[in-house]
Amino acid sequence: MAFLQIADLSATYGRSPVLSGVSLAVEKGEVLSLIGPSGSGKSTLLRVLIGLLPPQAGSVTLAGQRVDYAVPAALRALRGRCAIVFQQYNLFQNMTVLNNVMVAPLKIKRRPRPEVEEEARALLGKVGLSAKLHAHPSELSGGQQQRVAIARALAVKPELLLLDEVTSALDPELVQEVLDIIRLLAQEHMTMIAVSHEMGFVREIATKVALMSEGTVVEIGTPAEIFDAPRSERARAFISKIIRAH
């Protein structure tokens, strides 16, 4: 069984169904890229995976363990192994850059401060923000905030990293600095599910691409298969649209 196995997953917001029968598998070290039109349920899938929205049906199995989202202890264990980076960064506005990165290891994992601080400084160095340790999020550019958000996610040492359109809220000139970091993570074999429409980038780092439409996965394959030879009509239409946009 794959490291992450999603089977027949469904979810609703109130009454309206948003995900229906999503099945996906991600192996350790793989980068799965999720693409699809706006409103197709990509963000919702990531929110369900990290337990921000309870699934209606189906199963998620992580490292051989089925995740029961209704059991708080299981949810905590899951969140100990996964981390998410949001489109809008969602940094804690009341904390400095350094504290944003340290708060979870320190307060939640209760690890000793000197060790946590050393790691946090190293992570912020890795994302190129050593000079901004004591700045507040509101004093940073979007790209810088997103890099802090990535460092914050990495600080909990996730085995699976979820990335939700992490560059789509950024000004074009800031996109590359964030993509560079994700490229670095891919080279280090971080297992990732990344929602992204940066086609060139997806081709470069994704081992698999899943195309979503109306709450389901309509096509899945290698980047070459999806982008160069989409099988379904819906996939063809979407791919030609994003190619034209680039």
Binding site: R47, Q93, V156
Partner: protein, 228 residues
């Protein structure tokens, strides 16, 4: 005015001074204890009320009902409820204590609503981030949400507290000695209403002015700019 000057020597006695000081002290006590109790219990109620999940359904409903009930009643009615409540329950309380309980109920409900407004003003994505990092509800509230909510909570909380000083006057209706009651007593002793209530008015003003100064210091200390 001439009348007041003639009254003044008879008014300015040690006895009246101590009487008024006593009344001032009681007004101050009612205000401060009311605000402290209201602040802490109100904060707790607001935190309970904003919790999600079925496990919290009953406490949440209680917090909601308490806040809505006592926030909507006229202050005098709350004090009467406290008075009759105490006598029905046959607890032996002084009138001062009964008035204090009623005032605490009022302050608790109002401050709970102000704190709740502050909590919901924080962007929902802050909850998502915290939850994804395994923060529990209380930890999220204390380390992420409230630190961002203070600047929304503090100004209306301070203006409530200043208005609340006026609410303590209702304690006079239960026969508790505080400033308004003192004014009433002084007029029955034959002093003119202008002098009696004029003195009371000055004391209320001084109290409120001093507390407003404290409030402004608090606001600037948390980074809310002074009046523009």
């Amino acid at each position: 005015m001439a009348g007041i000057w003639q009254e003044l020597p008879r008014f300015l006695t040690w006895y009246n001074g101590i009487f008024l000081l006593n009344a001032l002290l009681n007004t101050l006590l009612l205000s401060i204890i009311g605000c402290l109790a209201g602040g802490t219990i109100g904060l707790s109620l607001a935190i309970i009320r904003c919790a999600r999940g079925r496990a919290m359904a009953v406490p949440r409903a209680f917090a909601w009902a308490f806040t809505e009930f006592f926030r909507r009643l006229p202050p005098l009615v709350v004090l009467m409820l406290a008075f009759f409540g105490a006598s029905v329950a046959r607890v032996d309380l002084t009138l001062f204590q009964v008035a204090l309980i009623g005032l605490c109920l009022i302050a608790t409900a109002s401050l709970a609503e102000i704190v709740r407004g502050g909590i919901v003003s924080v962007h929902p994505n802050q909850w998502d981030s915290a939850a994804a990092l395994n923060f529990g509800y209380l930890r999220c509230v204390l380390t992420v949400i409230l630190p961002q909510a203070w600047r929304v909570i503090i100004p209306p909380a301070i203006s409530f507290m200043l208005l609340f000083i006026k609410d303590t006057a209702f304690a006079s209706q239960l026969g508790t000695l505080e400033l308004t009651y003192a004014g009433k007593v002084l007029t029955t002793k034959g002093f003119s209403a202008a002098l009696s209530y004029g003195t009371v008015l000055l004391l209320y003003f001084a109290l409120s002015y001093a507390l407003a100064g404290l409030g402004r210091r608090l606001e600037t200390s948390i980074g809310i700019p002074a009046d523009r």
